[in-house]
């Protein structure tokens, strides 16, 4: 499955990057979202996949035994998902505010801070 996912992740990265390189604010934020999914999925995949065995210690057991999914990447991804959520929601609201102030969705209209001659 890693092989298949490798291609899926590659496509997600390409799509995310491509969207972010558009001039539209909306595509930018959606691109960021795709990029986030891609990164999380990547950690999950390179952390190796184990089908169906969650890292839960049985009711009457003391240690996790047998095959089980690596819990650490899961914990990392969980943290990353939540952080990503916070950051992306903020970015979305930022874009909304920018649209409200600048009055356009076109990033090419938002170059004033890079213009040398004021």
């Amino acid at each position: 499955m890693e092989t298949v996912l490798a291609f899926v992740i590659g496509i997600l990265f390409a799509v995310g990057i491509y969207l972010m390189m558009r001039r539209s604010l909306v595509k930018l934020i959606i691109g960021l979202g795709v990029l986030g999914h891609a990164a999380n999925l990547l950690i999950f995949t390179v952390g190796r996949l184990t089908r169906g065995e969650p890292p839960l210690i049985g009711k009457h057991e003391e240690v996790l035994s047998g095959t089980f999914a690596d819990p650490l990447p899961q914990a990392l991804i969980l943290t990353a998902i939540v952080i990503g959520f916070g950051v992306q929601v903020f970015a979305a609201v930022l874009i909304k505010s920018a649209y409200r102030i600048v009055g356009t969705d076109d990033l090419d209209e938002m170059k004033s801070t890079d213009e040398t001659q004021p």
Binding site: P54, L78, V82, G86, V89, V93
Partner: protein, 136 residues
């Protein structure tokens, strides 16, 4: 115009879902769940209430500003870590009470920490949703 059925339903659903969210929080240490997911369940309940009955009512149903919930949550989380410092252990060393409580199970600082997470998530989600909804 919020539908009457939905608003009536959510009014009864709200306490139930809140209860459920606490349950998800508590069982998280041993089963899938935890503060984060619990917090999301609770805030979804409020969000539904806000959609069906309006933001003002949802705000009124909340005892305090969501912002303070965040502050309280963060405060609880950091306090849970500092308890061990007072007891002379490194920061965030887990401390457990020996007694096992009914329903809740074992009580210790990690559970307290998770409660902090739970509250922060509620506060954050509600802040976002209320403000976004009001903005429109």
């Amino acid at each position: 115009m919020p539908s009457l059925i939905l608003s009536t339903a959510t009014r009864y659903l709200l306490p139930l879902m809140l209860l459920f969210s606490v349950f998800v929080l508590i069982r998280g240490h041993n089963e899938p769940g935890g503060g984060f997911i619990g917090g999301l369940v609770a805030s979804t309940a409020y969000a539904l209430y806000a959609i069906s009955s309006g933001v003002e009512k949802a705000r009124a149903a909340l005892p305090i500003e969501p912002r303070y919930i965040i502050a309280v949550g963060l405060g609880i989380a950091v306090t849970s870590g500092m308890i061990s410092m007072i007891l002379g252990d490194p920061f965030m060393t887990s401390q457990w009470l020996d007694t096992v409580f009914p329903v809740i199970g074992k009580v210790g600082t990690p559970v307290m920490f998770d409660t902090g997470v739970y509250l922060v998530v509620i506060g954050v989600t509600l802040t976002i949703i209320f403000n976004l909804a009001e903005g429109e």
